[in-house]
Structures are given as C-alpha cells and as structure tokens.
C-alpha cells in the first residue's frame, strides 16, 4: 500500500526522504565497489520486469480477488540487497511520477516501506537464514512465505506510523493498526506464495542464476548494523533540522505533540494569527456569524485553525472565488496561447 | 590493423550445458569482402559471430582479427575494429535517446564532446536517420531501429561489420533500403542470415554452416544454385532463383 502526499506532513516526508536518500547513496556506493559491470543493465531490466509483471494478475481461488508479484523480495533474491533496493526505489519513482501512486513527498516513505524492509531486513535476516547455501524447494517456499509476510507487516506498520506521525488523517493509531495489519497478512501470504513459486521456477530451470546472485553478495558483506546506524543517524539529524525549520509552520509532528499536550508552545503561530486577526479587525469586514467557532466540545482544538483559512464561511467563499479566478486565468492564458 | 582480415582456424565450441556449437570451423576473410553466413537454425551462425569479437572464447582453435590472434589483452582493440549489429535492435539500443545511443561508443572511446557530436551526426546521416536523434528508441519503427543500430556501430568507425539477421522483421521497403545502404559500405562485411535473396544481392561470397561445420565456402551464385548442397544443409534455393529457373 502506498503512502500518499496528501496524508503526510513535511517533517515525516522529509525525514523519510533523507533516510532513503542515504540508503540509496550507500547502496549505490556498494554496487560501485562490487564492480560488477553486469549489474547495472541487469538491474534496469529486472525493474522493468517487476513493473510489467505487476500488471499481470491471477485470480485467487474462492475470493474473487486477484494477486500479483510483489517486488522487494524477489529482487533481493535475484540481485542481493543493495541492487534490489535501488531497483525497488526506481519502480516506485516511476509509479509516483507517471501514475501518481503515492506522490513525490511520500516517495521516501514508500521506498522505505516497500524497499528497505524486504531488502535489508527480511532478505538477510529471514530468507537467507532459512534457505541457506543449499536451497531446496521446501526451503525456498518457507523462506519466501515467511519473508513476504514479515516484510509486508513491517511495511504496513511503517505506513501506519508515518500516517499517525503526520497527523493529517484522524485515524487513531490502534484503529489503523487493526485495519492495516490483517489486510497485509493476507497480501503477504499471496505475495509469498507467488515469490516462492517464481523463484522455484527459475531455480529449477536455471539453478546457476540463483547461485550467481547469492555469490555476488556474500552475506557477510552486508553489515546490517552499519546500515541501521547510518539510517538512525540520518533520520535523527534530518528530523531535528526539519522540525526546527518547521517550528515556524504549524504542522505535522509538532501538531501531533501539540494535540496531545493541549498546549501551544510556539510563539510564532500566535504572532501570525494575531496579525491576521489584526488585519481582520482593521478591515472590519468580519461578520460575526461567520466565525461561530469553538463549540464547547471543540475547546480542546487549537484556536488558530479556526481563525485560519477555510474554517469560516468567509474562507469558503474566498476559496471558491480564488479557484474560479485561477481557472479564469488559465483559460485566458490558453486562449492567448492558441491565438498566438 | 589495416588489413581488416578475419581468420578462424579450427574453432571448436561447446556450451556449458553440453550443446556443441562449433566443430572445427576454418575460414579466412580478407579486406573488403562481403560474406554471407547461412545455415539452418542452430547451425552455429550466432555462435560463430560471438567468437569474432571475443564474447565467447573457443574451446579449441584461434580467431585472428587483422594480424593478431584474439586474446583477452587485445579484446578492446578487437571490439573497436569489429562492429557488431545484433539481431534484435532492442538489445542494442539501450540508451534513453537515439543520440545517446549513438554517442555511447564514441564516449567510451574517450572522444571529446564536440567530436562525439560530430561523429553522431555523421553516423546518423550515413544511415539516413539524422532527424531521429532526439527520439527515444521505443518510438521508432523496426526499420528505423535497424538503421540506428547500424549507426551506433558506425560511430565506432569499425573496419569490419558483423551483422546478425539484419533484414529480419523488416517490411519489404525497409529491407530494400537497408540492402542498398549496406552496398555503399566499404567495410569488410560478415552477414549471418536466412535471407538468401539478400545474400545473393549483397555478398559475393557465402559460407554455409551445417551442424557446426562449414559445408561450403565459395561464390554466392554457385552455392545458392547448388540444390543438392542446399538440401544437405537444410536450406532452400532463394526465391529469386526459383523464379528464374
């Protein structure tokens, strides 16, 4: 499941961007160090394979729904974690840019949820541990199944955390978890079965492919601790910087904190809103009934969003008018362009 | 390597899965010759081509390009002088745009930027598709893809052109245009093909491969009129000859 820009705050989006950018840099460096020139075209073409394969569906018996191949696991099995992560990132970038799946700001989250977990957690810690150096059909099946399930659970949990931290959606943490995890358990089982079957197919037809992939990245080389450490550091630094930047913007993480503490701590909002209120007073167009804000039960809500933006009739009227003006400008420009 | 000579002596090759590709192939192609390599599917044509610029190394025997035997050491030099046009242009055109694709080789040779641009334009003009430079390859027709593939190879200024099925999946007019284009090239040409009419039209010499061996090597006209030989090699007289007789 994709995170969407609309549900995300800049702080969360930014932190995840920095984290994934760090991972991409690190993986790219690893690929370069490996010095396997085969890999770059192979990665690209396999990305295209994942992309094309995701449009082929099979029917899941007795459910009326359909399933397709997930990406991260099978890529990790074929390419090793670093290359697989880069390919997964590419697939998601293309989906974000062309099909608006997720969106640009949420891209970091999506790459992390669907790339990091399967490639850097599940593949080395679960799949490789189960399958070992002498794969059998049973081991491949077990490894892929458990791997896909855990990978998707982690990914789904990532979506939940990112959404909750962003504080744009009202969905409470518990409800969201209860909604997301079981759905993704089902998806995980399907993905695991498909992955297992395709990997077994390739393994039976051309065992050397899996061997080559495995040998190209000795598992000892993958330093999970180091990856995690870099990641945590990057996230902390980015989080710190972004929330400092964001402190002059009422949003996201800080918003959530504010909501729980029920206190506005930052003066800067006040000043913005005070000045806005000042403008309103001076212009004196403010009709009283238009601002029937805080009902008793909304007392816990911060006062400023009510003063801000579209929370008033005036705001709504203004918003609709602005939209109309924007459309008119567009039409005018287009006519001029066509005339020219 | 001014002599543009391609020489194979007693090449043997077996694939890792045990399939035998070549069983002792010997020939010598000299400067400016245009040679058709014909034979049924699986006769060993592609395997042979893959030996000519060192992608496969023979289990036994040697390949000589110019005056030197092909070894790992001179692989780069050999690849520069032997230009390879693949059967499927989609494998050969892997860059984002036609320009990038043609520029790929010259850039790898270390040419300066404006020199590269000159080479690209010249190569595209030679094959008559200069107007396609900015297009992505997937938006080209089969004929255009083929022309661009040839341009990518020409940009490396090779002495020897090796082509695998250049006329496959071309419509009749693109095929005709391609043949006329190839006729204008002065390079030594080695063309693996099932298109015997093209062989007749383009190549004065033909080598027939059958089950990894050379069963005939000589003047194209003689070979393609020799019904018995063709039948023994699982081939058929080209249509143009069938119509005449």
């Amino acid at each position: 499941m994709h995170m969407a820009d609309a549900l995300i705050s800049p702080v969360v989006g930014g932190v995840m961007w920095v984290a994934t950018a760090g991972l991409i840099g690190y993986s790219a460096k690893k690929i370069k160090e490996e010095g396997d020139n085969h890999k770059v075209p192979l990665m690209g073409v396999l990305g295209a394979f994942i992309f094309a394969s995701q449009m082929i569906n099979f029917s899941i018996p007795a459910t009326g729904s359909s399933g397709h191949l997930g990406g991260g696991m099978i890529l990790a099995i074929l390419l090793g974690p670093y290359a697989a992560f880069l390919v997964m990132a590419s697939v998601l970038i293309v989906q974000a840019l062309f099909f608006a799946d997720g969106g640009l700001l949420a891209l970091g989250c999506n790459i992390f949820n669907l790339g990091f977990f399967p490639c850097f957690i599940v593949y080395p810690l679960i799949y490789r541990k189960i399958v070992g150096d002498n794969p059998t059909q049973g081991k491949i099946m077990l490894g892929s199944l458990i791997g896909a399930i855990i990978g998707l659970q982690l990914g789904a949990f990532g979506v939940v955390l990112e959404t909750v931290f962003s504080g744009i959606s009202e969905l409470p943490f518990r409800t969201f978890v209860i909604l997301m995890q079981p759905i993704h358990l089902a998806i995980g089982v399907v993905e695991g079965l498909v992955t297992a079957a395709v990997v077994t197919f390739v393994w039976k037809a051309r065992p050397e492919i899996l061997n080559a992939a495995r040998n190209s990245i000795p598992i000892g080389k993958l330093n999970i601790k180091k990856v995690l450490l870099v990641l945590v550091l990057a996230a902390v630094i980015a989080g710190g910087m972004l929330s400092w930047f964001a402190s002059s913007n009422p949003d996201g993480l800080e918003w959530a904190m504010f909501k729980t503490s029920g206190k506005e701590e930052l003066e800067s909002h006040e000043s913005v809103h005070v000045s806005l209120a000042g403008i309103q007073e001076k212009t004196a167009f403010l009709p009283d009934y238009g601002f029937k804000k805080s009902e008793p039960e909304t007392e816990a809500k911060p006062v400023w969003p009510a003063v801000d933006s579209g929370t008033s009739v005036s705001g709504l009227v203004g918003g609709i008018l602005t939209l109309m003006v924007a459309v008119l400008i567009g039409l005018g420009l287009r006519q001029r362009k066509n005339a020219a | 390597m001014s002599h543009h000579i391609v020489e194979a002596s007693d090449l043997h090759y077996t694939y890792p899965d045990g399939t035998v590709g070549l069983r002792g192939v010997t020939f010598r192609i000299s400067h400016g010759e245009s040679v058709a390599l014909v034979g049924e599917n699986g006769a060993g044509k592609s395997t042979l081509l893959l030996h000519l610029n060192g992608y496969l190394s023979p289990r036994q025997g040697t390949v000589k390009i110019g005056d030197y035997p092909l070894t790992k050491k001179n692989l780069d030099a050999v690849r520069r002088s032997v230009g390879m046009v693949f059967q499927n242009p989609d494998d050969q055109l892997f860059m984002p745009t036609v320009f990038d694709d043609v520029a790929f080789g010259p850039l790898n040779l270390g040419l300066a930027k404006d020199e590269v641009e000159r080479v690209v334009v010249r190569s595209l003009e030679t094959v008559g598709v200069a107007h396609l430079a900015k297009r992505p390859p997937y938006k080209l027709s089969q004929g255009e893809k083929r022309s661009v593939s040839i341009a990518t190879v020409l940009a490396m200024s090779p002495d020897i052109l090796v082509m695998d099925e250049p006329t496959s999946s071309l419509d009749p007019r693109s095929r005709r245009r391609l043949i006329e284009l190839l006729k204008t090239f002065r390079h030594t040409k080695i063309v693996a093909t099932h298109d015997l009419d093209m062989a007749l039209d383009l190549c004065e010499r033909t080598i027939v491969l059958h089950q990894g061996r050379i069963t005939a090597d000589g003047q194209t006209k003689k070979i393609l009129y020799d019904e018995e030989l063709l039948r023994a090699s699982s081939l058929e007289k080209p249509l143009s000859i069938q119509l005449k007789t």
Binding site: V45, F49, V198, P287, D308 | Q92, P96, F104, K139
Partner: protein, 270 residues
C-alpha cells in the same frame, strides 16, 4: 487492450507530451524539479484544517497547463484514477473528528469534513504537480537533472535502463498474456499455475535479455562507466521561474488571500 498495454501506452503518451515545444518545455529540467518541490512542500506544510488557503495554489498547475498546452482533461483523469487511497484514509476523518468547527447558516461543519476535503485538495495539488513535471520535462531529462544534482550515477543509470525497457517488457508480457488467453478459453485473471509459468518464463527471458544488452554494451567499449552528454543551462529564465513561483508560494503560505477576499465579499453582501 489489457492493463499492461494501457500502462506502457500511458507512459509513452506522457513522453510524447514532454517532447512538445513551449517555453516551459524548454526550461532547464532542474528549474522545474526544484519548483515542483517547493510547491509540494509548501502545500503539505499547511495544517490539517487548511481549506480555502489551499485554493490559490491551483494557480500553479492551471497556469502551467495553460501555457504549455498540456491536455488538462487527461491529467485530471489520471489524478482521479489514483485518488482512492487518499480518500480511503481520509474518509475516516469525518467519523473520528466530529467537533463542529464552524457553521454555514445553521448547518454545523465538523472538523473531520474540513480535514477530509483538505486531504483531497492536497492530493489533487501534489499529484497534478508531479504529473505536470513529467509531462513537461520527460523522464530522461528528469534523470539527467538528478545526475547534475549529484544523485549517485549507478542509481540513475539503472533508472534510465529501467525506463527504457518498461516498453519492451510490457510488450513482451502483453504478448505472452494474449497468447495464454487464446488457449485458456476463459477470460479474466488467470489461474495460479499459468500465472507462475508465465512470470517465470518472462523472468528467464528478461535475464537472457540483460545478458545480451550487456554484451551489446561491451561491444561498444563499455567499461563500467556510462557517459551521457546533456548540456543544461540555468539562465535568467530559469532563475525567474524558480524565484517567481517560489515567492508566490511563500506569499500564499503566509498570507491568506481567500480569507481576505471572502471577508470582503461577504462584507459587501452584508
């Protein structure tokens, strides 16, 4: 046509749009990338009840579409196709957050509805901005810009390869599915076994293809480093584009135009 064909056709169509010619098309891809980014970050930085303040931001996609001649209907359709997820998560807001935020006449509008519509607006804005970026710039140019921004080359290069072969592999997948469905006698999604052997075969072919491509690269002197020539220039126009839009976004971020306009109008009516 099935899904596969439609998707690659779609990408191809956006590439065609990107090969159009307008001053906006000609702009350095980096300028468009940066501006899109400022736009998205500004839009999502509003608080959850932001509604009317978001509306002026539509000026950006609208002006860009108008000036470049991109097909507005096509882009809008694309946005609608992908909206379910945002709506799915947002739709809980009206249920969870029932506190009345303000009244229109006697009808109380709950915070949940406001934040839900806010999500939808954000979604439309950010998604259109991204789509416009690609349709105006083209994927390859975006990648070239990424290289200039210092994104690691192995990553961008495989991204370019990926993009190049989407078309080839989608074609191949489509042919295989079609061939399969001719023999299967039933329509719709296929069974698991067919599905797996189809995918498996596609994967094997893909691996073979990767090998052939690598060989083709070696034939032309590939040494592990891919070089691409792209001349990009940041001129006065690019600077104007970035700073003009950037300034407008920031102005709209801190100065509530619709509210002022609305208060003015409702004041007049009163």
């Amino acid at each position: 046509m099935n899904n596969i064909g439609r998707n690659s056709f779609d990408i191809g169509y956006m590439d065609t749009l990107a090969s159009g010619d307008s001053p906006l098309h000609r702009l350095d891809p980096r300028a468009k990338l940066i501006t899109t980014f400022i736009f998205i970050v500004t839009v999502v930085s509003f608080d959850r009840y932001a509604l009317a303040v978001l509306t002026p931001f539509f000026i950006y996609p609208i002006v860009l579409i108008a000036l470049s001649g991109l097909p507005a209907g096509y882009l809008l359709k694309k946005v609608l196709i992908v909206s379910p997820f945002a709506i799915l998560v947002g739709i809980f807001n009206p249920l969870m957050d029932r506190g009345i935020l303000f009244h229109i006449g006697s009808i109380g509008i709950s915070g949940g509805w406001v934040s839900f519509i806010s999500i939808v607006l954000r979604f439309m804005l950010t998604v259109t901005a991204a789509l416009i970026l690609v349709s105006l710039t083209g994927f390859n140019a975006v990648c070239a810009a990424l290289i200039k921004f210092g994104v690691p080359k192995p990553f961008v290069v495989q991204l370019l390869f990926f993009y190049r072969y989407i078309f080839v592999l989608s074609d191949e997948a489509e042919r295989m599915v079609r061939a399969g469905s001719f023999r299967a006698f039933h329509s719709g999604a296929m069974g698991f076994k067919t599905f797996i052997s189809l995918l498996g075969n596609l994967l094997l072919r893909t691996l073979d293809r990767a090998e052939r491509i690598y060989y083709a690269m070696c034939c032309r002197g590939f040494d592990g480093n891919i070089r691409i020539i792209r001349s990009m220039r940041i001129t006065y126009q690019e600077i104007m584009f970035i700073f003009g839009w950037g300034a407008l976004f920031i102005f709209l971020r801190y100065f509530n135009v619709p509210l002022k306009l609305g208060t003015f109008i409702t004041g007049l009516l009163k």
